[in-house]
Amino acid sequence: MIAVRAAGLGQRFGSHPALAPVDLELAVGERLAVLGDNGAGKTTLLRLLATVARPASGRLELFGLDALTRRAQVRARLGYLGHQAGHYAQLTALENLEFFATLQGRGRVEAREALAGVGLEAAAGRRAAELSRGMQQRLALARAVLHRPELLVLDEPDTSLDGPGRALLGRLLGERTAVIATHDRALARGLCSRALLLRAGRAEGDPWQLRVVEA
C-alpha cells in the first residue's frame, strides 16, 4: 500500500521558485530521509507533505486520499514537527499536551502517555518556558505523535536532542511511515531506508546509493 504519492509537487513564493516539481512515492512503513544544504527546499517540501502549505503545482495523495480536498481525514493520520516548537510558554508541559489532545478529540490519558513516551514525566508540571531546548524538542515530538498518526513528517527532529533523545527518536518512529529532514547523515542512515537529496530546490539522486529516488 502507498502512504505518500506526490506528482509534480512544487512550490513558488511570488516569482521565486522554491521547489521544482518533485515526484515521490513512499510505501507504508518506508522511511525517507530528505537531505540538502540550507535553503535547498527541505522545509518547503516537508510543509507541502504535511499539508501545512498549499502547493503551487502538482498533486499529493496520502493513504490514497487527495491531500487538498480531503484535508481533515488526511491530517488526522499524520503528525508534523516543524521548525518552531509551538508551545505556550505560560502553560506546563502537560497542559500543552492536554490542550492539543482536546483539539485532536483525545483525552488526558493520551496526553500523559505521549509525555511519558518522550521521557518527560518528571517535567510534567513545569512551564514550557522553563524547559531546556532539548526538552522543548521532546515535548514537540510528543505533540506530533499524540494522536497516534500513521505518517510522521519531521523537520530536523534531532535539533538540540541529546544521545538518549536520538535513541528515543527511533523508538517513536516504530513501524510508522516517515519523512525526515536532517543534516545528520549518520542519523538518516540509521533511521531511513531511502533518501532524497535536494539541491537549490531540485531533487537529485541519492548520495550513497540507498535506493535512488527518481526526481
Binding site: A85, G86, Q90
Partner: protein, 217 residues
C-alpha cells in the same frame, strides 16, 4: 464547542499566569483618561457631554491592542499551525480566540468605566455598561478576524487599524448614541441595545464564515 472552550481557556490561563496584557491595557486606559481630562479641559458640565466620545475612542484603541495580540504570537511561535493541523475546525479555533479576546477587553472595561466616573465625572449607569458590553462582542469578532488576517502579512501592526476601524464604525455610531442618551439622562428604551445585538449577530456570523478562509493557509 469543546474546542472553542479549550482555546479560550488556554488563552485566559496563559494571560492569568503571565499577566502581560491586562496590566498594560489597564494602565493605558487610565493614562488615556488622564490625558483626555487635560486635553479637553473637562469640568462638571462638559464631562457628560464629552464622555461618550472619550469612552469610545479609548475603547477602540484598547481593542486594537487587545485583538492585535490575539493572533500574532500564535503565528510567530508556530502554535497556530499546530492547532490548524488538528481535526478541530478553524471556525471553532477562531471562536475560542475571539471569546478570550472579548473577555480580556471586558476586563479592561471594568477599569475604563469606573475610570470614566472618577476622572471625567461621567455618569455610568446600567445602560452604558450594557451598551459597552454588547458592542464588545461584535467588535471582538471583527477585530480578531482582521488580527488573524493581518498576522499573515508583513505589516500586521499597521494593517489591523486600517482594516478594523472602518468596520467598527457602526458599533461606535450606535454605541456612542446609546451612551450619549444614557449620560444625558434621556431614557433610551431597549431599542439601541437591540440594534447593537443585531450588529453582533451579523458580524459574528460574518467573521466566523470568513475565519475559515483566513485561517486556511
Amino acid at each position: 464547542m469543546a474546542v472553542t472552550w479549550a482555546v479560550a481557556r488556554k488563552d485566559l490561563r496563559a494571560e492569568w499566569r503571565g499577566r502581560e496584557m491586562l496590566p498594560a491595557l489597564a494602565q493605558f486606559v487610565v493614562l488615556a483618561l488622564v490625558i483626555a481630562n487635560f486635553a479637553f479641559d473637562v469640568d462638571l458640565t462638559s464631562g457628560p457631554r464629552l464622555g461618550p466620545g472619550i469612552l469610545w475612542l479609548v475603547l477602540v484603541f484598547a481593542g486594537l491592542v487587545a485583538f492585535g495580540r490575539a493572533f500574532a504570537p500564535e503565528r510567530e511561535q508556530g502554535s497556530l499551525e499546530a492547532m490548524l493541523l488538528t481535526p478541530a475546525g478553524p471556525a471553532a479555533i477562531f471562536a475560542g480566540k475571539a471569546l478570550a479576546a472579548a473577555l480580556l477587553l471586558m476586563a479592561v472595561e471594568a477599569v475604563l468605566l469606573p475610570g470614566m466616573a472618577v476622572f471625567l465625572g461621567a455618569p455610568i449607569g446600567l445602560q452604558v455598561v450594557l451598551a459597552v458590553l454588547v458592542a464588545t462582542v461584535g467588535m471582538a469578532g471583527l477585530g480578531c478576524l482582521f488580527s488573524a488576517l493581518a498576522a499573515q502579512t508583513r505589516a500586521r501592526d499597521l494593517l489591523l487599524p486600517v482594516l478594523a476601524l472602518p468596520l467598527w464604525i457602526p458599533f461606535v455610531v450606535v454605541g456612542g448614541r446609546t451612551v450619549q442618551a444614557a449620560m444625558g439622562g434621556a431614557l433610551v428604551p431597549g431599542q439601541p441595545l437591540v440594534v447593537l445585538a443585531a450588529l453582533d449577530i451579523l458580524f459574528v456570523i460574518v467573521a466566523a464564515l470568513a475565519a475559515r478562509v483566513v485561517l486556511d493557509e
